[in-house]
C-alpha cells in the first residue's frame, strides 16, 4: 500500500471511451439489461411511460423513412457520452451547470461522475444534456421481493428525487485499479476494465478502452473513416464514437461534418 501512495502523483491518466459499431448492433437490448442489473437500476411494474423510465443505456431505433421494400432500420445504443467540452465551452455541459458540484469530470479517467447523495434534484443537468442521458428518480426504488438480494454491492442504490446516469461502470474501474495496485502495477490492461454493456453485447458491437492508448482497440476504431459522434457540431466533445458504413445513419446522427476519420473535434 505504501508504494501505491507513492505512485499517486505520477499516475497514468486515461481517456476512457467507447466505439459502437452500428453495423453490428441488432437492437437486442442485452446492453440495456446488463446495465440495469450491473448498476441496480430500479424499474416499476408498469413501465409504459418511457419518459419516466430509468435507462442508463438506451437503444434508439431509427429508420431511413422509406416505404417497403426500401425500408432500412438501424439501432443506436446511447450510454452517457462523458463529454469533454472544447474551446470556449471548456467543460462538460452538465458539469458546469450543477449548482452543488454533484457531477464532476474526472481528469484521471475522463469519466463524468455523479454523487447521488449530494444531488438535491434540481434537474438543471438534465436540461443541459442534449442526449437525454440523465434520468430522474420519480419514484422510490422498489424491487420485487427477494430481488434485493441480487443487487450489486459495489453500486449504491439511488433514492427518489435524485438524478442518475451511466458511469461507464466506474466501480469496475475502481475494482480493477485496486487489483492492479495489490499486484504492484500502476497501469490497467485493456481487458481488466470493461463496462457491463460491452461484455454483454452478443454481437461485439461495443468496444471500450482508453481512447488515448494506441494499444487499445478503441484508439484505432475511432479513426475509422466511418466513425462519428452524436451532435458533433454542438461542441460537447463526447467520448462515445459510432461507426456505420451507411450514409443515412451517419447523416441522421447530425454528425456529417465531412471530417470523418480525423478523430473529430470540430473546429
Amino acid at each position: 500500500m505504501k508504494e501505491a501512495h507513492h505512485g499517486e502523483g505520477d499516475e497514468k491518466t486515461y481517456k476512457f471511451g467507447m466505439v459502437i459499431d452500428l453495423d453490428k448492433c441488432t437492437g437486442c437490448g442485452a446492453c440495456m439489461v446488463a446495465c440495469m442489473a450491473e448498476n441496480n437500476i430500479s424499474f416499476r411494474k408498469d413501465e409504459t411511460d418511457k419518459l419516466r423510465s430509468n435507462f442508463w443505456m438506451r437503444v434508439y431505433k431509427i429508420s431511413n423513412g422509406l416505404p417497403f421494400p426500401d425500408t432500412e432500420v438501424s439501432y443506436i445504443p446511447r450510454p452517457c457520452m462523458h463529454c469533454e467540452g472544447y474551446d470556449h465551452h471548456h467543460a462538460t455541459p452538465c458539469v458546469s451547470v450543477c449548482p452543488a458540484t454533484v457531477t464532476d469530470y474526472n481528469h484521471e479517467t475522463g469519466i463524468v461522475s455523479q454523487i447521488y447523495t449530494r444531488c438535491f434534484g434540481c434537474r438543471y443537468c438534465m436540461a443541459a444534456c442534449p442526449y437525454h442521458v440523465r434520468v430522474f428518480n420519480w419514484w422510490d426504488p422498489r424491487w420485487p421481493k427477494g430481488m434485493e438480494k441480487y443487487l450489486n454491492p459495489d453500486v449504491s442504490v439511488r433514492m427518489r428525487g435524485v438524478v442518475e446516469k451511466c458511469s461507464f461502470c466506474f466501480h469496475r474501474y475502481q475494482r480493477a485499479k485496486n487489483k492492479a495496485y495489490a499486484e504492484g502495477r500502476r497501469e490497467l490492461r485493456e481487458d481488466e476494465y470493461q463496462t457491463a454493456c460491452t461484455q454483454a453485447c452478443p454481437a461485439g458491437a461495443i468496444t471500450f478502452g482508453d481512447l488515448n492508448d494506441p494499444h487499445h482497440k478503441v484508439y484505432k476504431l475511432k479513426k475509422d473513416p466511418n466513425a462519428f459522434r452524436l451532435l458533433e457540431k454542438l461542441g460537447t466533445n463526447p467520448k462515445v464514437y459510432y461507426v456505420s458504413t451507411t450514409d443515412w445513419v451517419r447523416k441522421a446522427s447530425d454528425a456529417y461534418t465531412g471530417k470523418q476519420g480525423e478523430g473529430v473535434t470540430p473546429g
Binding site: S96, V135, A252
Partner: protein
C-alpha cells in the same frame, strides 16, 4: 370615525384611514384559504409522494415551476428597481409607492423560494447548494443572490411592520424602525447590486446551455447575452407589475391609494426600458438565428413542433412586447386608466411567456435528430402548488394593507 362603526380591530389600523369591518376582512382571508389549502395539499403530495404526482418527465425536467419562478422574480424586480429610482436616482415622488413595491417584492421572492422548495427532488438537501456550491453554475449565483436579496427585502419590510400603531408605541421598535429608515439608501443599494446579479444569472441559466441551441447564447466573458436581457426585461416589467398590483389593491379597497403622477412616472420609465429591451432582444434574436444555424439548428427546427410554432415568437415580441411598449410610451394612452392596465398586463404576460420559452420550450425542441417531440402541460398539482404562493401573497398584502401604513398618500386622497 364613529366608534360604533369602527372595526373590531381598529386599534391596530393606522390612524386617519378607513378599513372595512373586521368580519368582512375575516371572510376575505377565509376565502383565500380555500385555494390555499388545495395548494398546501398539492405541495404535501409532492413532498410525500415524490414528483411522480406531476406531469414532469425526463424530457421536461423543467416545467411550470421553473418558468413561474423566473417569471415571479422578474415581476418582483419592481421592488429593487423602485428602490433604486427612489434612493439612488432620487425620484422623490416614488416614496409614495416604494413601501408597497417592497411588500410585492417580499411576496414574489418568498414565492420563488417556496416554489423551488417544491420543485427540487430532495427539499431537505436544498442547503447543499450553499454547502457544496459550484461557483461555475449560474444556479449557484441565483441561489446566493436571491437568498441574500430576500433578506434585504425583509430588512426593508421590517420598519413597515414596526410602524404598526401598537408596536410603534414602544421605544425600541420605534427607534429601530427609525434607524432602518435612515439606513435605507444603503440597504437599497445592496439590494440593487444583488438584484442585478440574480436577475442576470437567471438569464444565464438557459443561456449557458450550449447543448441546447434554442437556449444557448454567446455573450460577454462568462455571461451570455440572456444575462443582460433578463436584467433589462425584469426592470422593464417589474414597475408595471407594481402598478398592476397597486390598481388591484385599489380595486378591492374601492379607493385611490397612490396619486396619478406617481404611477405615471413608473409607467413612463417602464415603457422606455421596454423599448430598449425590444431593440436589444431583436438584435439578439437575429444574431441567434444566424449562429444557431451553424450548429445544425436552423430556425425552422425550433418552431416545427406544435404548439411551439412561429406564433410564439410573434406573440412574445409583438403582442406582449411592441404593443405594451407603444401604449406606455405615448402619454395619451399611458394616462388612460384602462389602457394603462392593459399595457401593464401585456408587459407582465410577456415576461412570463419569455421565461416559459427560455425554459420549457428550450427543452421541448428535440436536439438529437432522431429524437421525437413530446408535449408537456402542467397538471393540477403543479398549478395548485404554484398558485398557493399567489394566495399566500394575497393574504400578506391584505394584512399589510389593513394594519400597516403603506400608502402615504391614502389620507390625503381619502379624507375621512
Amino acid at each position: 370615525m364613529d366608534s360604533a362603526s369602527a372595526p373590531f380591530d381598529s386599534a391596530l389600523i393606522p390612524k386617519g384611514v378607513k378599513r372595512c369591518q373586521f368580519k368582512w376582512f375575516l371572510l376575505w382571508i377565509a376565502i383565500l384559504h380555500g385555494p390555499l389549502t388545495i395548494g398546501v395539499i398539492a405541495t404535501l403530495m409532492c413532498w410525500g409522494l415524490a414528483l411522480n404526482v406531476t406531469y414532469l418527465n425526463n424530457n421536461y425536467p423543467f416545467g411550470l415551476w421553473i418558468a413561474a419562478d423566473l417569471g415571479i422574480i422578474a415581476l418582483g424586480a419592481g421592488a429593487f428597481f423602485t428602490g433604486f429610482l427612489r434612493y439612488i436616482v432620487k425620484i422623490d415622488e416614488l416614496k409614495h409607492i416604494v413601501n408597497f413595491a417592497v411588500i410585492v417584492g417580499v411576496v414574489c421572492y418568498a414565492a420563488a423560494q417556496g416554489i423551488l422548495g417544491v420543485d427540487i427532488g430532495q427539499p431537505l438537501r436544498g442547503w447543499f447548494i450553499f454547502w457544496h456550491a459550484n461557483v461555475h453554475s449560474m444556479l449557484t449565483e441565483v441561489a446566493f443572490c436571491i437568498t441574500c436579496y430576500f433578506m434585504v427585502l425583509c430588512v426593508e419590510y421590517l420598519p413597515l411592520i414596526l410602524e404598526n400603531r401598537q408596536i410603534y408605541k414602544f421605544g425600541f421598535p420605534r427607534g429601530f424602525a427609525h434607524h432602518l429608515h435612515e439606513a435605507m439608501p444603503t440597504i437599497a443599494a445592496i439590494g440593487v447590486f444583488l438584484s442585478f446579479f440574480h436577475q442576470g444569472s437567471l438569464g444565464g441559466v438557459p443561456g449557458v446551455l450550449y447543448g441546447r441551441p434554442f437556449a444557448f447564447r454567446e455573450g460577454f466573458l462568462v455571461w451570455p447575452w440572456t444575462f443582460f436581457l433578463f436584467i433589462l426585461s425584469a426592470i422593464a416589467c417589474g414597475p408595471c407589475f407594481t402598478i398592476l398590483i397597486t390598481r388591484i389593491t385599489e380595486g378591492f379597497a374601492r379607493k385611490r391609494l397612490v396619486k396619478r403622477n406617481v404611477i405615471d412616472i413608473l409607467a413612463k420609465i417602464s415603457g422606455r426600458l421596454l423599448a430598449l429591451y425590444l431593440v436589444l432582444k431583436t438584435i439578439d434574436t437575429v444574431y441567434w438565428i444566424a449562429t444557431a444555424g451553424k450548429v445544425g439548428a436552423p430556425l425552422s427546427s425550433f418552431y416545427a413542433n406544435q404548439p411551439y410554432g412561429y406564433w410564439v415568437l410573434i406573440t412574445e415580441l409583438g403582442i406582449f412586447g411592441v404593443i405594451p411598449c407603444i401604449l406606455l410610451l405615448i402619454k395619451a394612452t399611458r394616462q388612460n386608466e384602462n389602457i394603462l392596465i392593459l399595457a401593464c398586463f401585456l408587459n407582465c404576460a410577456g415576461i412570463f411567456m419569455n421565461r416559459w420559452i427560455m425554459t420549457v420550450q428550450a427543452l421541448a425542441v428535440p436536439v438529437m435528430p432522431f429524437d421525437k417531440f413530446v408535449s408537456y402541460h402542467p397538471n393540477w398539482v403543479e398549478y395548485a402548488s404554484t398558485l398557493l404562493f399567489v394566495w399566500a401573497g394575497a393574504i400578506v398584502i391584505s394584512l399589510s394593507y389593513r394594519y400597516l401604513p403603506i400608502f402615504s398618500q391614502e389620507k390625503e386622497l381619502n379624507p375621512i
